[in-house]
Amino acid sequence: MKVTVDGIEVEVPPGSNVLQACEAAGKEVPRFCYHERLSVAGNCRMCLVEIEKAPPKPFASCAYPAADGMVVHTDSPMVRAARRGVMEFLLINHPLDCPICDQGGECDLQDQAVGYGMDHSRYAENKRAVRDKDLGPLVKTVMTRCIHCTRCIRFSTEIAGVPELGATARGENMEVGTYVEKALSSELSGNLIDICPVGALTSKPYAFVARPWELTKTDSIDVMDAVGAAIRVDTRGPEVLRILPRLNEDVNEEWLADKSRFAIDGLRRRRLDHPWVRQGGKLVKATWNEAFDAIRNRLTGLDGTKIGAISGDLCDVESMVALRDLMVALGSPNLDCRQDGAALDASRRDFYTFNSTIAGIEEADALLLIGTNPRIEAPLINARLRKRWLQGEIPVALIGEAADLTYKVEMLENRPSTLAAIAAGTHPFAAVLKAAKKPMLILGQAALTRPDGAAVLAQAWALAASCGMLTPDWHGFNVLHTAAARVGGLDVGFLPGVGGRDAAAMLAGGVDALWLLGADEADVTKLPASTFVIYQGHHGDRGAARADVILPGCAYTEKEGTWVNTEGRVQRGQRAGDPPGQAREDWAILRAASAVLGRTLPYDTVAALRCSVETRHPVLRNLDILPRSGCSDTSGPASRGTLSDAPFCAAISNYYMTDPISRASATMAACTEAHSGKAMAAE
C-alpha cells in the first residue's frame, strides 16, 4: 500500500492506520490515547490529520485505516487549527500545576501544549476537581490532571490482565478509577506511570524527589528476576533515584515489573559499607587489611577440600569466575551456584535455559506449565504468555499450585505422576500437545528444588521429547529461573568439581570455611558454629548475620557486570552510582583476597578478567544476541532417584521480597502489607 504523507510517498503494510503511515514518513503526529501496544481508543482527538478526497473534516489518524493511494496532510492550516482546538479543550479542565507536578519535564501534554497549543487561555471558569484514588503503595494519583485517554484502563485490562481500572460515570462526571478503593493487584502496575501521558498517575515513592533534567541516565540490566529486563538507572550523585524500562523487543518490550522498578530504596538501606570481623562472638568494624588477615589466618593450613563457596542470586558472572578461580587455586572442589538446591543439569546448555526464548513464546501454540507461577516468578514472561494467549487462545495447562495467571489455564492433577502420564501418552493433554505445531513447556524452580528434582527434570525432558517439543527447528523445553545469576553461574561452571560438595552438603557442615558470595537465601541455620563463614555482599541480610568476616561489595547498580538471563541471553549491566563507604567491586575484592592468600589471580582489570572469562566460556561472548535454535539432540538429562508423589508447591511466596535488596526496601514492605492484607480480607 502506498500512502503519500505531506508529499512523501511511503509503503505501509496492509492493516496499518494513517498514524502509522505518517510515522513511516517521518512525520510527527501528536497523540495521547494512542499507544502501539494497546487497542485503539480514538478518544483524545489529538492526532487529527487531513485526508484528500475524503469528507472535508479532520480525521483521527490512529483510528482511520490507511488505504492505497491515500494523500495525507499533517500540517495543513485545517489540521493546525483542529489540534489547537483539541488542545484548548483538553486544557479546559487540566490544571496548570506543572511546577508542582512530578510529570513536569517529561509530560506529553506539556510538550504538546507547547508544540500545538495556543499561547493563552480563553477560560475564566473554574476547573473541575476530581477526588484522588488510592491505587496502593506504588502509583500516586492526581486525578484532576486526568485527560481520560484511557491508556491505563486498556493497559490493566489488556497487558496486565487485571481488569480493575475503569471509567465510571460519564461526561463532566467521568472518573478513571477502580470504583472500589483498592491497591492494583498487578505486578506490572508501575507501567501505568510510564504510559500515563500526563501527571495523573505518577510514582508514589519518587514523588517530589527529582526533575528529569537533574538525572544522570545509565542503561543497564535488571537483576531482580531472571528475565534480564533492559532498564535505565536514573541517578543524582551517588544515589539511584528511579529505574525505568528500556525498549527491548526480545525481552521486556517496553514494560518492567514492579519489584525491578520500585525495590531501589532497598539499595540505600541496610548496606554493608565497611568490613566487619567477628571477635568474641560479636561483629566488630574492621579495616580491609584486618578482614583479609582474619581470612588468611583461618584459611592458611586448611585443606582445600574443607573450603567451600556458594554464590547468590544476584551475582555477576565476573565475580563468580573470580571466586571459582580463587577456590580452584586453594584446591577446593566445593562450589555451588544453586543455593536453593535446584537439581539443574549443567551438562548441556539447553537443559537449563528457556530455549523457546521469550519472543518465541508468541509462536507457541500449546503450553504446559510445571511447578511454576510465572506471574510471580517472572511477571514479564507472564505478560508475554498472556499476549500469546490473547492473539488466539492456546491450550494452557498447569501442573502445580492453582493461581490466577491472567489467562485461562486448565488445572491438571498436581502430582509428578501426571508428567509421566503425559509423557506416556495416556493423559488427555498429551493429545493436545501432540496436535500442536510448536508446543512448549515451562519448568519452574519449585519443581527442581524438591528431593526428586533430578527425576522431575528428566521426566519433563522425556515429556518434551515424546510430545514433539524437541524438533530441529523448535525447542519447546524451557526452564524458568528466578535468580538473575543462575544461568551465568551454570555457564561458567560454578558447580561442585570432582568429589566436590554441593550447597546442601556444605550447608550441613561439610566444610570448615564457607565463602558466601551474596548468598542470602541459603539456609545457614544448620551450619555448625565452628564453620568459618566469609560473607561477601552488599546487604546486611541473612548471610551477613551468620558471617565471621564480612566483605562489603557492590549492588548491581554500582558495578559493571555480566548477567545471563533465563533464556541464556548474555547482557551487560553498567555502573550507575558509587557503592557506599568502603564497599568495593566484587571481582576486585576477590582479586585482593587472592593476593593476601598467596594465590594471586592472573587479572588486574575487569577487562582482563572478562577476556579470561570469554576465552574459557565462549558462549559468553555473544553479548545481547541470542540465536534461537531447535533441538538437535533429544537425549535427555540424567535421572537420579524416583518421582515422589508430593504435589508441586510455589517457588516464591511473596513476590515483593525475594532478595536482599527487596527485603531491605520500605516500598516493597508496604506492598507486602497491602497485598497480604487484601488476601486476608478476601478470605
Partner: protein
C-alpha cells in the same frame, strides 16, 4: 439504608433471567448486563422499598455474566437510570427540559419540595419515601409538564396536582397515570377541535 453485605436474585427474578439470557448467543452473555442491572434494581425496590443497585449486586451480575466487576460498575454508573445509592420508595423524576419548563416545570419542582421537604436534586426526604431527580426530556412534550414517578408518567401537572399526587402516594394510594387534566392521551383539552365536520359512522 446502607450497602447490604450480600445480594442474590430471588426466584421471581431468576425466571426472568432465564428468559433474558436466552435472547443472546452463547459467549455474548455480557450483553445482558443492562437488563440484569434493571432486574436487580427492581428486585431491590420490591423487597426493600428502595430501588437501587448495591455494589454486591453488580458483583453478582459480573460473576453471572463472566465480566470483570469494573465493567459492570462502568455501565451502572454511566446510565442515569441506575441508582447506585439508595433512594426513597417513590422516585419523583421531574422533567425540566425546555417544553416542560415553558409549561411550568418550575412550579412542579417547587411543589415537590414543599410536599416532601426535599431541598435539592438527588435528595431523599426524611421519611425515606421520596427522592427527587431532575431528568432530561421524557419525550412526552405535548402533555408537558411531566412528573415521572417510578415507571409512570403523570402529565399536565401543576403545583396543586403535584401536591395532591404526593399526598396520595404518601397515603399508599396509586393514582392512575396519564393526563391529570382529564384528556385522553394527547388529545386536545375539552374534546376534539378538528375534523368536526366528519360525520360519525
Amino acid at each position: 439504608m446502607s450497602e447490604p453485605a450480600t445480594f442474590a436474585f430471588d426466584a421471581e427474578s431468576e425466571v426472568k433471567i432465564t428468559k433474558i439470557l436466552a435472547k443472546y448467543p452463547s459467549g455474548r452473555q455480557a450483553s445482558a448486563v443492562l437488563p440484569l442491572l434493571d432486574l436487580a434494581q427492581r428486585q431491590m425496590g420490591r423487597l426493600t422499598g428502595s430501588a437501587w443497585v448495591p455494589r454486591v449486586a453488580m458483583d453478582v451480575i459480573a460473576a453471572r455474566l463472566g465480566m470483570a466487576p469494573i465493567r459492570v460498575y462502568e455501565v451502572a454508573t454511566f446510565y442515569f437510570m441506575f441508582n447506585t445509592k439508595p433512594i426513597g420508595k417513590y422516585h419523583l423524576q421531574v422533567c425540566t427540559t425546555t417544553p416542560c419548563w415553558l409549561r411550568g416545570s418550575d412550579e412542579v419542582t417547587a411543589a415537590c419540595r414543599r410536599a416532601t421537604g426535599i431541598k435539592g436534586w438527588r435528595e431523599t426526604s426524611e421519611d425515606e419515601l421520596f427522592t427527587m431527580t431532575e431528568v432530561e426530556c421524557l419525550g412526552a412534550c405535548v402533555n408537558a409538564p411531566i412528573l415521572q414517578v417510578d415507571d409512570d408518567f403523570y402529565e399536565d401537572m401543576d403545583a396543586a396536582k403535584t401536591e395532591a399526587l404526593i399526598e396520595a402516594l404518601r397515603r399508599g394510594e396509586k393514582p392512575k397515570p396519564g393526563s391529570m387534566a382529564g384528556r385522553q392521551g394527547s388529545a386536545p383539552e375539552g374534546g376534539p377541535t378538528t375534523l368536526l365536520d366528519v360525520p360519525a359512522e
